[in-house]
């Protein structure tokens, strides 16, 4: 669960929180592209390091570290597989294989890092708004924010149902694999029935508040790109151009070689 913990929005008022979700999303995409451009360790280390200031400015260090810890397990697996397959092919020397495998796990970590900064600092509400203003159909945006809104409610409901059935002698951990799955039926059925009932009530409340009255819906909040958003977008573009230039025209040395010099 800790990976998801590192992706859950924390309310805050840092400059990073204030940035427009669209600008931040652009930055995440650029990070993604650049990370995929390079197989070498050196540029990936650079990518990893340049994001750290964001984390500190946003004051989400603790959650960020938790997300990295959550990602560590997968990173190790990625390292293992890369190491095994490149080494077994017998074409490369050990130091190269090691560095290459490190690079692959680090690429994964860089991706987790940028996504985690994005989700930790972007409220789902703003995200919904950003979707709306990017001409995503309103029904979809509404479904998105409502889903986020009801996650804690449903989690609580699932807990109550589990408690109610435990009280009636249901033991979830009893029996073999098949039996254990069947044990969840008394929990799933009330959960589904209640979700359907709830959605009906929601639909009633939506209708009663003029859902679908006009095609031209207005909005209480409007996201406006600020100077800082343009700065972030510009920096992202520069990074992208630089990365493409390096990829195409410059040789990227092995980190081991650089350090020896």
């Amino acid at each position: 669960m800790s990976v998801f913990d590192g992706l859950r929005f924390r309310r805050g008022s840092s400059p990073i929180h204030q940035l427009d979700p669209r600008a931040k999303f652009f930055y995440v995409i650029v990070m993604f592209v650049v990370a995929v451009l390079f197989n070498e360790l050196l540029p990936l280390v650079v990518l990893f390091l340049i994001q750290i200031p964001f984390v500190f400015v946003a004051r989400v260090q603790r959650e960020w570290i938790r997300s990295l810890r959550g990602a560590a397990f997968l990173a190790i697996i990625i390292f293992g597989f890369n190491f095994l397959f490149t080494y077994l092919s017998g074409q490369y020397e050990l130091s190269y294989v090691l560095e290459r495998s490190f690079a692959m796990s680090l690429r994964f970590i860089v991706l987790v890092e940028s996504f985690s900064v994005f989700f930790l600092t972007t409220s789902p509400d703003h995200l919904g708004l950003a979707l709306e203003q990017s001409h995503v159909p309103y029904e979809f945006c509404f479904a998105f924010t409502t889903a986020v809104r009801f996650v804690p409610v449903l989690a609580e409901e699932a807990q109550t149902i589990m408690d109610a059935q435990k009280t009636r002698g249901l033991e979830l951990e009893r029996g073999n694999f098949i039996k254990r799955i069947r044990n969840y039926i008394p929990i799933l059925i009330p959960l589904i029935v209640n979700a359907i009932r709830r959605s009906l009530e929601l639909a009633e409340a939506m209708e009663s508040r003029a859902w679908g009255a006009t095609e031209k819906r207005t909005n209480l909040y409007v996201l406006k790109l600020k100077k800082s958003d343009y700065v972030l977008a510009l920096l992202s573009i520069l990074l992208l151009v630089l990365a493409v230039y390096i990829r195409l025209f410059l040789p990227v040395p092995q980190l081991g070689v650089v350090l020896r010099i």
């Binding site: 149902i161 408690d163 435990k166 249901l170 009330p190 009932r197």
Partner: protein, 273 residues
């Protein structure tokens, strides 16, 4: 029957729901636990059948420490009826629903049959034996939930907010039903903020506020004490409010229901004339 000794409880999210609570509930007692939403009432009763275990302190149910046994074992003694029946109904027929717990507890089929018939009869549900619980009305579903717990004949019955969403007649039926349970020497604990219902039941009352027990006593003592009532963020029964205004005329002020009020007024008028 139930002994709570210095229990504190903190939820994993850091909310301190119970602080140093101590309480004894005797065999055959009828107790209403009252207080504002969020006062810790439900958290307290969930400790009685082990759904929650104390962070500090200890609870003994029928002499057994709740830490030492499973929920299923405690549930045999402490039946718990949740507020919303829809959080537990899932079977195809009412009969299966009532038999569910009995099967879990490993009763024999012949015993199960007898118990189910008994419980359905007790709650006036026999005609719905083969009906799907989802086809029933809200009040009926509530009764099915109650039957499904009473079927295994627990010594203690906990009812969480049993009067919510119930109309006047349904409440009156519920009250009569509780009286029956008490007559069968069961311990009945209700969690509620329905002051009028408690005044009518005339049970014992435990007042809670902010995770602590404010006071315990008879409904009369608790509900007519305006300081306690304010502290627990409830309101006093309407009859009590009426008679508070009449104190100057020499009327008693510790009245909580119509029955008592009538007696007192007739007595007063008789003495007077």
């Amino acid at each position: 029957m139930i002994e709570v000794k210095g229990v504190s409880f903190t939820y994993p999210n850091g909310v301190e729901a119970l602080r140093e609570v101590s309480l004894t509930i005797h065999d055959g007692e009828f107790v209403a636990i009252m207080g504002q939403n969020g006062a810790g009432k439900t958290t307290l009763v969930k400790q009685f059948n082990g759904l929650l275990k104390p962070t500090r302190g200890e609870i003994f149910v029928d002499g057994v420490n709740t830490r030492k046994v499973s929920v299923a074992t405690l549930a045999r003694k402490v039946g718990f009826v949740f507020q919303n029946p829809d959080h537990q109904l899932f079977c195809e027929t009412v009969e299966d629903e009532v038999a569910f717990a009995l099967r879990n507890f490993g009763f024999e089929e012949s015993t199960i049959k007898k118990r189910v018939a008994w419980a359905l009869n007790l709650l006036d549900l026999t005609e719905y034996r083969e009906t799907s619980p989802f086809m029933l009305s809200g009040g009926e579903r509530k009764r099915v939930a109650l039957a499904s717990v009473l079927a295994w004949n627990p010594k203690v019955v906990v009812l969480d907010e049993p009067t919510i969403g119930q109309d006047h007649k349904q409440k009156e039926k519920l009250r009569q039903f509780i009286v029956q349970l008490i007559a069968q020497r069961k311990t009945v604990i209700i969690v509620t903020h329905d002051v009028e219902f408690v005044a009518e039941c005339n049970s014992h009352v435990v007042l809670m506020a902010q995770g602590k027990i404010v006071a315990k006593g008879s409904a009369k003592q608790m509900l007519t004490n305006s300081a306690l009532v304010t502290q627990a963020s409830i309101v006093s029964p309407q009859i009590t409010q009426i008679f508070l205004e009449l104190a100057d005329l020499g009327m008693p002020i510790d009245l909580i229901n119509i029955h008592e009020a009538r007696e007192a007024l007739l007595n007063f008028l008789e003495v007077d004339s």
